[in-house]
């Protein structure tokens, strides 16, 4: 919503300074986006100084000038004027400027091999005089300190640009803004509406509102203005239109626009001679078409509110008129429309057709239904004044009566909500200034709501009116109470924060990526999940919700590798989606790691990252989160995006069916498909939702402290087992032989090759044996040794390696 202070003052009698008005607008909830002059084409012409002028190398009559235009660097300008010389003050026009004399738009161009950035102007080129022999010579006493400043003074008034919230359609007109300011004490609202107008004769074009179902128009007011002379608008009107950054069109169009901006009363003018017999406001039928004033053809659906005549659709009511009945400079007779359209209908139609106009914006938010005649009057008055003509009587058709609504307001509600008190008298004054009719009964007010305020329907709306006009700065600051109803974080939230920092502590950089991703990448990781399309994606490569934490991690690790990084660890913790319904999402922490460990290290051997790095990060994270290593169980099963032989899944318990985590090397085909340039790429993912409530509180997780000081013995074993035999099973078998004596089992070597059959491997383990009751004798140790060997051999078919 744009207007000038001058325009505001047509409605508001005030002594306030501009800056005070601006501040007050913000204080009452009319946010000032900007307060500045509209940029004019003439702002491109700057006072400039020639710093140096040299002969053009390829042309006798041209000079190459270095020109100071008040910026950091001088610019080079090729100039043909004989008077161009060092230290001359003149006028410079930069690229993009339009020269007033010939409307030529300047560009950066080469003149005989030398690039010229703009030009130096003569008086004739600026329409200042006929002098065209040389460039302007400015007097140094007047202009020497103005280098870089605009040569032409910008005479347009400063424009206020308000951002009006959708609840305040009344402030989409200057008068509404003035009313709010008056209520806030900025001045007095002027009574500007001159009610005198001569109406001669009847409006002879028949108007009827069809009683269709969901008819979007309830009031349709018209008047016929005959024998007008449409023309260019007078200067005051043109200036108003220009100051808002719009282009004047013709008096008729400019006047209807002006009334709309002034009173928030949209109008439409038809060329009366182009109307076929009568006006019918009705619902459209599917397939009807018309050409709108934006020169686009629209194909209509059923039940859109259209203004039509005998031959068809003339326009979309309250949204946009049609070219068929549009006014032109030679229009002689006009039919002026001032109507009321239902916001719901406007919104539905404009959304369907994707049209946005000033009228639509206003009707959608709610126009004062009682402003129909006021609008006709004001516009008719201006039209007759500017274009002449005779105005008919007003014809107002309506299918619904608009009563003034009333509301009961208990004054104490204000203090209950706002937390501070103001006098009843002041409450009443504010409301009256805002246009309410107030009747007081003890502490209750009976309020008649102004018809231009469709937003006010209940007592809380009145509280808002009073508090915003009185000023939010009157609200006291009450120190917060520290009482707590619930613990800050629940278990799952604590786990989230813990795992996040746990992963970061292992060298991973946390990233936050979109919850959506490229369906082509997502496809590689989605497994059995359903693809969830976004109907209106921001771009085609962000078209689905992610089914996995990996698509974005893979995409971004590639980007970073392409930047020349090699050894990268990234993780993200966030949602992945199973379906497009609320709640069908899982929280996952996923990590991805590329390249080498100890690259370019002077004292450590470098190696590629591998599945056991991913496994370590997964297991350690789970241990840190409080899960017992003894219970964790690993299987080979993993999703298809992992290397089939170098990946696994982790279960909280051997008997669990659902894994809580996956780890492994990323499938080489995926690395290839995504063209990820790295020597090695591994990843892991932990599903927080599956970790639910398995964790004890710290106070419950500490068992009794038990230890043994008796002598420990270490024994090494090497078993030859089938190649596919799982090491995890071997350690588990040995550990469970005698849990009292066997304290730990560590695998220290796995060997395949010479001396071992092809389908076998050798696993070497170190077993720590210790009793908590006595020092073990050699015979005890021998016994347990034998038991280990026999149990392993029987249970696994392994052979001890001699």
């Amino acid at each position: 919503m744009k207007f000038t202070i001058g325009w505001l003052k047509e409605h508001l009698d005030t002594k306030f300074e501009d800056s005070q008005i601006i501040e007050k607008l913000t204080d009452v909830g009319l946010e000032v986006e900007s307060f500045e002059k509209v940029i004019s084409d003439l702002d491109n012409f700057k006072v400039a100084k020639i710093i140096n002028a040299e002969q053009h190398p390829n042309a006798d009559k041209l000079k190459v000038c270095d020109v100071d235009i008040g910026e950091k660097n001088t610019v080079k300008v090729v100039c043909g004027a004989p008077n161009a010389k060092k230290d001359l003050l003149t006028v410079y026009a930069g690229p993009g400027s339009v020269i007033p004399k010939n409307n030529m738009k300047l560009t950066v161009s080469k003149i005989r091999g030398v690039t010229s950035y703009g030009m130096l102007c003569s008086e004739s080129e600026l329409n200042l005089s006929d002098e065209s022999d040389g460039i302007i010579e400015l007097k140094s006493n007047k202009y020497s300190d103005k280098v870089g400043k605009n040569f032409f003074k910008n005479n347009t008034e400063k424009v206020i640009d308000l951002s009006i919230t959708p609840n305040r359609p009344d402030c989409l007109g200057v008068r509404g803004v003035a009313r709010d300011l008056a209520a806030a004490g900025v001045g007095k609202l002027k009574n500007t509406i001159n009610t005198k107008i001569k109406n001669n004769g009847l409006q002879k074009i028949k108007v009827s509102i069809k009683k269709d179902k969901n008819q979007g128009c309830t009031i349709f007011g018209t008047c016929l203005i005959k024998d007008i002379t449409n023309k260019e608008s007078p200067k005051w009107l043109k200036d108003k239109i220009i100051s808002l950054g719009q282009k004047p069109i013709s008096a008729i169009v400019d006047i209807t626009n002006y009334v709309m901006l002034d009173l928030n009363r949209p109008l439409h003018a038809y060329d009366a001679d182009k109307i076929d017999k009568e006006i019918i406001i009705r619902n459209s039928e599917k397939g009807e078409t018309f050409q709108a004033l934006d020169n686009k053809d629209y194909k209509l659906d059923n039940d859109m509110c259209v203004i039509s005549d005998k031959s068809g659709v003339l326009g979309l009511g309250g949204i946009i008129g049609g070219t068929r009945s549009g006014t032109e400079l030679n229009t002689k007779n006009i039919l002026l429309e001032s109507a009321y359209f239902l916001p719901r209908s406007i919104r539905k139609t404009s959304k369907f057709l994707n049209i946005d106009t000033d009228a639509k914006f206003r009707f959608e938010r709610g126009i004062d239904p009682q402003s129909v005649e006021t609008g006709l009057k004001k516009a008719a008055q201006l039209i007759t004044k500017i274009c002449g003509g005779n105005v008919s009587k007003f014809d107002v058709q309506s299918i619904r009566k608009y009563k003034k609504n009333t509301i009961k307001f208990k004054i104490p509600l204000f203090e209950k909500i706002a937390g501070f008190k103001i006098k009843d008298k002041e409450v009443i004054k504010i409301l009256i200034d805002l246009g309410f009719v107030v009747a007081k009964k003890k502490s209750e007010l009976e309020l008649t709501i102004p018809t231009w305020r469709p937003d006010i329907t209940q007592p809380i709306d009145i509280v808002e009116e009073i508090v915003r006009i009185k000023g939010f700065n009157n609200i006291e600051i009450l120190e917060p109470q520290k009482n707590r109803i619930k613990e800050t974080l629940n278990k799952q939230q604590k786990l989230f924060h813990f795992l996040q920092r746990s992963a970061a502590s292992k060298g991973y950089f946390e990233t936050v990526t979109w919850s959506f991703t490229d369906s082509k990448i997502n496809y590689l990781f989605k497994e059995n999940y359903k693809e969830i399309k976004i109907v209106n994606p921001i771009s085609t490569d962000l078209d689905v919700l992610r089914n996995s934490i990996f698509p974005n991690l893979a995409f971004y690790i590639k980007k970073n590798l392409d930047r020349g990084f090699k050894d990268i660890s990234l993780f993200e913790i966030g949602p992945i989606f199973k379906d497009n319904k609320p709640g069908e999402q899982l929280t996952v922490i996923g990590g991805i790691k590329s390249g080498k460990i100890s690259r370019l290290n002077w004292n450590e051997e470098n190696r590629l990252v591998d599945v056991f790095d991913a496994k370590k990060d997964t297991i350690q994270t789970l241990l840190e989160a409080g899960y017992d290593r003894q219970n964790l169980f690993v299987r080979e099963k993993s999703p298809s995006y992992y290397h089939p032989g170098k990946s696994g899944s982790v279960y909280l318990d051997k008997d669990d069916i659902d894994p809580v985590a996956f780890f492994g090397e990323i499938h080489p085909n995926i690395i290839k498909k995504l063209d990820i340039k790295t020597e090695a790429l591994v990843g892991f993912e932990i599903y927080l939702d599956y970790l639910k409530d398995t964790k004890l509180k710290l106070k419950d997780s500490k068992s009794k402290f038990q230890f043994s000081d008796y002598q420990k013995s270490d024994r090494d074993f090497a078993f030859v087992v089938d190649k596919n035999f799982k090491a995890q099973d071997l350690t588990e078998i040995i550990s469970s032989i005698d849990q009292n004596l066997i304290k730990s089992v560590k695998i220290f070597d796995v060997y395949e090759g010479e001396n071992i059959p092809k389908d076998k491997k050798s696993i070497a383990l170190n077993v720590t044996i210790q009793s908590s009751e006595k020092t073990l004798e050699d015979s005890d140790l021998e016994k347990i040794n034998k038991l280990i060997i026999s149990t392993v051999e029987i249970k696994t078919g392994a052979k001890i390696r001699s």
Binding site: G29, T165, P166, N167, P343, R347, E364, K416, I417, A418, G419, Q458, I460, R468, F472, N473, I475, E476, I477, E479, P480, Q481, K482, K486, T488, L489, R501, A503, A504, S505, Y508, F509, E510, T511, V512, T513, W514, S515, F516, K533, V535, N536, P537, I538, S539, L545, K559, N560, R563, I568, L570, F571, F577, N580, K581, P582, G583, W602, N603, E604
Partner: protein
């Protein structure tokens, strides 16, 4: 007596010379070995007349102790000397690099969420969450934003079905609705999380973060709202004083509604919060609209309270001097390293938000 004195003096002398460890052990065995000189005296103690025995034994023990102490001291001296001389040859260049340090980083958004949670925890708020995918009802209708309401246009919504019933939440406010539906007042919650709008340019990202606040009880008024936000902003920016301005605004789900600006100034190209005469909008808030309370079956005549919504990314930008919103989500390793936080820097009530 004179014999043992002689032996004592003789060996003390010997031990005073420069010896190696072997010589000292040799001396030790000469004195205390099986046939050592002192050992032999002890062996012969029995043959002495009883009246002499006591004194002699006492002298002998004295000499033994003195010699043993001397020997032990000598051994220690030699060992230390030997270690020291060995160390001479064990010098490394300690200016060579240490072994590789693995150091991860926490994203600024996560850090700021933890900071916010910590601050609100101090005044008794708990954290609630809600789904990223919402339906039209929770995101709009229940929040007093019916289908024909122009306020819906302020949210460029991502839809997940053609009927426009399923969508990505455009704000964290639906968590208010979900929380109030599943519990009974009073409520005192914050809800941080991801939010989505189909808007993308220098200052808008299609995904961003908000934290919702909600406090509903019997007598919560706008003074409490102001107090809560005043406390939060001061704590968050770690300043003692803050300039705060409440501007009337409009949100369908609160009334009265306000936008809050904080005062700032530019110093050396950086934003300094809490001083100056420039204003920066940082959040929207208001008293929860009675219609919203009715929608979640709470009697608005009995209960009332405030709600607010703050842009987390924007807070992070202001506090940590980050200029570009889009960079938050572009996963540039250099950016993450630069603006990320050490995982050990956990914001908490007792140790404060930062070092």
């Amino acid at each position: 007596m004179s014999d043992i004195k002689k032996i004592k003096d003789e060996f003390l002398n010997k031990l005073s010379t420069d010896l190696n460890i072997e010589s000292v052990i040799q001396i030790k065995s000469e004195l205390f070995g099986k046939n050592g000189k002192i050992s032999n005296f002890f062996k012969n103690l029995g043959s002495l007349p009883p009246e002499e025995r006591k004194n002699f034994a006492s002298d002998l023990n004295f000499v033994k102790d003195e010699l043993q102490a001397k020997i032990n001291k000598k051994i220690q001296e030699i060992e230390i000397r030997e270690i020291n001389s060995k160390l001479e040859n064990e010098k490394v260049d300690v200016t060579l690099p240490e072994r590789d340090i693995v150091r991860g980083k926490i994203h600024p958004v996560s850090q700021v969420i933890d900071e916010i949670s910590s601050i609100f925890s101090e005044i008794g708020f708990s954290v609630e969450e809600g789904p990223d995918v919402e339906n039209e009802h929770y995101n709009f209708t229940a929040l007093n934003t019916p289908d024909n309401h122009p306020a819906r246009d302020m949210h460029d919504t991502f839809y997940l079905d053609d009927k426009k019933e399923l969508l990505l939440r455009t704000h964290t406010s639906p968590v208010q609705v979900r929380t109030m539906l599943k519990g009974k007042p009073p409520f005192k919650i914050i809800a941080p999380g991801r939010t989505y709008r189909s808007d993308s340019d220098q200052t808008h990202a299609p995904m961003f973060h908000q934290v919702e606040g909600l406090h509903i009880d019997k007598n919560i008024n706008m003074g409490h709202l102001k107090g809560c936000l005043n406390y939060f902003i001061k704590s968050f920016f770690e300043v003692d004083k803050i300039k705060m301005r409440f501007r009337p605004s409009h949100f369908p789900f609160t009334e009265p509604s306000a936008e809050v600006d904080i005062g700032y100034e530019m110093k050396d190209g950086k934003i300094v919060i809490g001083e100056g005469d420039k204003w920066l909008e940082i959040l929207g808030c208001g008293m929860v609209h009675p219609n919203v309370l009715k929608n979640v079956k709470i009697n608005p005549d009995k209960y009332q309270g405030y709600a607010f919504g703050i842009g987390i990314d924007r807070l992070a930008m202001l506090k940590y001097g980050i200029n570009d919103l889009r960079a938050f989500f572009e996963t540039d390793y250099r950016w993450l390293n630069h603006f990320g936080f050490d995982p050990l820097d956990v914001p908490s009530n007792y140790r404060g938000l930062s070092r």
